[in-house]
């Protein structure tokens, strides 16, 4: 029997597989498909203080081995999530929940975290400072170490729950940003968010997405995500949730070997709604092949040996 459990900043997940924010809603759609209790956790849709309608259509484009989304953080707002989603989550999932939290100001980030303080089931706050699809006056908070540090500081004092900063790949030096978050007391990091990309519609000769740019995700980005997880693992002591292009037990294992303690699966859920279930079912055999009894032994394994 392989032990699939992993621990992230004191929170134990029964296995490392976590559906990524924005690809799993608040769990409702997937609860109709399989028993969510097989999951290590899930990261809910990025939630802001106020409801957001998101970007105009079209919001989705395809690319080779990947997709672009420009959803623009559509969500019902924190109050509606507390009122309507949290009680429903308690019914469909009984493990620890990761709350993906977004904001357009330091105050909003902090307030959103405070509002979740009494939400028992929320065990980790995943603070998204890297959404490429909202133009909050230029760059997002995750694109330089100072603003990343500022958000970390703001949320760190607002909550007692473990805080994981979610970093994006559209930066020159992700390790520098990771160190800035660590210095301000982050409990962990999640990476990567989507790569900024675009497509042009040859029929209209205009950008295909109404938002012009969108976030690239899916297997296409896996090597980039893996490299960033490696770099950040070398740079900080914090637990890392690896994310980006994972679509199989094998790619999940690569992520862990690069330094991830748990692995988020995003776009793969959209192509195959049962993707996380399949990955989880494949993990024990893969661990045997890799000769590990505790999957957590994979974490960072490629750095030494």
């Amino acid at each position: 029997m392989v032990d699939l459990s992993v621990t992230l900043a004191g929170v134990t997940l029964k296995n490392p597989i976590v559906p990524a924010s924005g690809t799993f809603g608040y769990g409702r759609e997937f609860a109709e498909l399989y028993d969510l209790d097989i999951l290590g956790s899930f990261s809910w849709k990025g939630t802001t203080r106020a409801p957001r309608p998101g970007n105009p259509q079209p919001r989705i484009a395809e690319s080779a081995a990947g997709m672009l989304n420009a959803v623009g953080l559509q969500n019902p707002g924190m109050e509606a999530v507390l009122r309507e989603e949290l009680p429903n989550i308690a019914k469909i999932f009984h493990g620890p929940v990761i709350a993906n939290v977004c904001g357009f100001s330091l105050e909003e980030y902090a307030e959103n975290c405070r509002m979740l303080e009494d939400a028992e089931q929320v065990k980790i706050l995943e603070v998204n400072i890297s959404c490429p699809n909202v133009h909050a006056g230029g760059k997002n908070f995750g694109s330089d170490p100072h603003s990343a540090a500022a958000v970390t500081r703001a949320v760190r004092t607002a909550t007692k729950k473990p805080v994981f900063l979610k970093l994006g790949p559209n930066v020159t030096d992700i390790a520098e940003i990771a160190r800035a978050c660590e210095a301000e007391g982050a409990d962990g990091l999640c990476l990567i968010n989507t790569l900024l990309g675009m497509r042009i519609d040859l029929n209209t000769k205009r950008p295909l997405l109404a938002n012009r740019t969108g976030g690239l995700s899916g297997p296409a980005v896996f090597p980039v995500a893996l490299r960033m997880v490696w770099d950040v693992y070398e740079a900080v002591k914090l637990p890392i949730i690896g994310c980006g292009g994972v679509d199989s037990a094998e790619t999940a294992a690569e992520m862990m070997l690069a330094g991830a303690s748990a692995v988020e699966v995003g776009a793969a859920n959209l192509r195959d709604p049962w993707a996380c279930k399949t990955i989880i079912e494949d993990l024990p055999n893969l661990c045997e092949r890799l000769g590990v009894e505790h999957i957590s032994d994979l974490t960072g394994g490629a750095h030494h040996g």
Partner: protein, 245 residues
């Protein structure tokens, strides 16, 4: 929703760019006309949403227009190809409150779901009429199939090569007030139909670029009077009253 393999039995070319595909497989998840399936294609990351044109216990009929690389590939797959398919997606047309003689209004490939719809309405003893729009006579398809169901069919073509010259709206405009439409077609058509003074009510089937097709990603959301709604899960069919352009 189910996920299962459908086997391509036959692909029949109807016009220069429209094909009729027959797929065999488990159709149990299809419960209403206007629903769709989401087909995985070799080498494509996203699935392709295609309306169910008609179905029985073991077969799906799809009408597919070559619109890009994926549909071009799809209609040319060899018979026997297995297609990983999400089936029974979306809410179809709601027939509970539809008047006796609703007007099925379709433009181009948008007529696909109206065929299965007409068939079921007629089977239920209703008397729908159909207004179908095409670019030209050469682009028209499924005329005999609709006629064979035994309903009144009006055709409009943009160049007048068949039926009324103009758009479906040019036919609908000639009808008295108080019409109820069940419409599917390109967005400009839906918008023009929606704006007709003749309409007392109706249901409109929307298209949107989709990532998942089952409600998870909110990629397909449109704004409605009820707030943001997902075309794939809350639609693709929306009530006239709820639609915002």
């Amino acid at each position: 929703m189910t996920k299962s393999a459908f086997t391509l039995e036959q692909a029949r070319q109807l016009t220069g760019d429209v094909w009729e595909l027959t797929l065999a497989g488990d159709t149990s998840a299809v419960t209403a006309p206007g629903q769709f399936v989401n087909l995985e294609l070799p080498g494509k990351f996203l699935r392709r949403p295609i309306s169910v044109c008609d179905w029985d216990e073991g077969r799906l009929l799809l009408l597919v227009k070559e619109a890009g690389a994926g549909t071009r590939q799809l209609v040319r797959l060899p018979a026997g190809t297995e297609l990983d398919t999400l089936s029974g997606l979306g809410n179809g047309f709601d027939l509970s409150a539809v008047p006796e003689n609703a007007v099925l209004t379709g433009g181009g490939i948008g007529i696909a779901p109206l065929y299965g719809l007409a068939k079921r309405m007629i089977a239920a003893g209703r008397r729908p009429r159909a207004v179908l729009g095409f670019r030209s006579k050469a682009d028209a398809f499924y005329r005999e199939e609709f006629a064979a169901l035994g309903l009144e069919v009006h055709i409009a073509t943009e160049d007048g090569s068949l039926g009324t010259r103009g758009f479906v709206t040019d036919v609908l405009k000639t009808l008295p007030e108080g019409q109820y439409v069940l419409a599917c077609g390109p967005t400009p058509m839906l918008k023009a139909v929606h704006a007709l003074p003749q309409l007392s009510g109706g249901q409109f089937s929307f298209e949107a670029r989709m990532a998942c097709g089952f409600g998870a990603c909110v990629g397909c959301t449109i704004q409605t009077k009820q707030g943001p709604r997902r075309v794939c899960k809350d639609g693709p069919v929306f009530q006239k009253e709820d639609i915002v352009w």
